[in-house]
Symmetry: D3
Subunit: 141 residues, 6 copies
């Protein structure tokens, strides 16, 4: 068992705003992140796949295929978008880094088996800034 990672990046606008709360409560809880005119980030995304190495290639997964997959399934719907407005799988959800990482997991967990017989999705690490980041390892069954 070995862990193989690919780093990608995208940028997006968002705001943190709970529509069931007053504007005042949103500002109290989320501070400047609640700015109704949006703010944004450059996100760094690290996808890790774990598994055995294919004896014919020495790969758990071809990282070029993993990169193409991340671009098609994750960056395409997120890059240069407004996370609250433009992204179907985030509709009605708070676009925190935590929630976004879990949604990216849900997408990729279904897609990784198509590109490797030897590995499966292990973790999604998402940097909102170089100082604020999360890591998700999937639901614990």
């Amino acid at each position: 068992m070995i862990y193989v990672s690919r780093k990608e990046h995208f940028n997006a606008a968002h705001k943190l705003y709970n529509p069931q709360w007053s504007k005042e409560k949103n500002q109290q809880v989320f501070g400047p992140c609640a700015n109704e005119n949006w703010h944004g980030h450059n996100y760094d995304l690290i996808i890790t796949v774990s598994g055995e190495t294919d004896p014919e290639t020495g790969f758990v997964v071809d990282l070029k295929k993993l990169s193409v997959l991340i671009k098609a399934k994750v960056l395409e719907p997120l890059d240069h978008q407004n996370l609250n407005v433009d992204v179907s799988f985030l509709q009605g959800k708070m676009p925190t880094t935590e929630v976004l990482a879990m949604e990216i997991w849900n997408i990729l967990d279904l897609e990784v088996p198509a590109i490797t017989k030897f590995g499966k999705l292990y973790s999604v690490k998402l940097y909102e800034t170089p100082r604020n980041f999360v890591e998700y390892f999937g639901p614990q069954l």
Copy 2:
């Protein structure tokens, strides 16, 4: 003469959209940056002051004072804001990295003399992403 730099950061939303053009021309010229629902970035900002060192302190400028100045005059109006909507000194301007760096110069060039007798503003370096950045040294007289 020596060059002293302080690095700060902020994040913001923006879009690149020339209101004198059609939506189609904006998308053709600016691509995904023209998304009308905005996108955003973590900006890194490096302010450089040049000058002689004060013989009593060994400083061209106290970098703590420079940091406080940048926060008050530049980060306060920009951080967690929408560059097209929320920032008075960018009204009616294209919020490209180039234009933003020149506007930051205009603000700080007036303010730096208040915190140092030995130095003056030398350059504004602004990273929109780790891969795209600009540097401005002021108007050439």
Copy 3:
């Protein structure tokens, strides 16, 4: 369960010197780190909290509150200090990166519950330099 991290930094002086040993043995074991006139580092500190997300905020923990907590309880006693001389919770201890990370854990493990109902301290990662670092996950009960 998801893991949320905040990165902070401080700098400090220290020396590695076991007072029960001769000066010669200290120099033999610790080399230049035993310099009696001290040396120092810029430390990078990453605090990770693990837990479920609050359904109302999408946060495990508000990273702004975590940052304020780290600054008050960890950076305030350590930043710009001499780890051997100035820091009460390090008195009589070797200020290695290992020992410092474990002491930071002991402080924050008590404090994190005050800022989140959904998470608890998971790890303390401390970089003495970009090349030398430790990670501590708490005592194993």
Copy 4:
């Protein structure tokens, strides 16, 4: 139990080419990595040792000794070499990042006990580029 890490770096040439396949199949599977005239990388290597701290030194392992060990046993045979041609322990193997990390584990797992009574090898993390990297924690018994 605490985890202590040392970062080193080396550079090398390699190609990914399965000699049991045709040239066409190699190009189809490995793309530009199959270039028969080689390409190369700057590798970053992070070695982590886990254990208790020595009460006399506050160290799990003296990171200077760990650095010397990595240089002698890992960097000496790999740095400025051709991984396919020059490295005895890679003969007949595919020099992917996965395989290389596992071989580095095999070397260091035997050597770390000689420099510390308190720790043992925990992981080998190897960056082929800042975007492509692997981590290996040893065989799972």
Copy 5:
């Protein structure tokens, strides 16, 4: 006048070997870089264009166009190649970082005018490793 930069990366194999010298002299001058079986690097490349901003776009140059140009004219012939063997514009030259940066300048200086009316090539900065790098500003006329 403002300076706009784009960062790209590629990797390649090379050796430093003067064919007019003996093997011994090559090893004496170039050390491990003279290994006849090659070694390699991940190169980081920063291209800077200087000029006025276009009043309609706020750009000196569209960095997406600059990125496409660098990929087509510089990365395509260099990425995953052997600099001594595979690259026509380096035939008969020593593939040091200095020489490579000057050759990249020669290519891009002719091409940049095709993508911007407002700027021209200002510098080529090339990192062979994070610790060894060069910058070239063109021939001084």
Copy 6:
């Protein structure tokens, strides 16, 4: 003319304290940097040499020789030292980043000619932290 750079690092303790001032004035001017028990930093140092390339080697300067020179003449007296106490060339001077960079220039400007016929010292860039740094290009004659 091309500019060739080498990055090195060291760490040291210091304090900023003008002995002609009262303790109160020192604390007012230098804040926590005036802590009489010292604090410290990991310094990053970038030395740039400018010149023509040697036609036989393609080098302005052999960066291995430059690295050896920096280690012998700059890192040896500074690394793991107290800048106020242990360093002869800083005696009686304020060990700010500005002053330290100028002193490093004075040392290396005399030494670089011994290792290259084709280049001379161009600049000394010194990072006290990743956020605070200076660059010095020598006295302007």
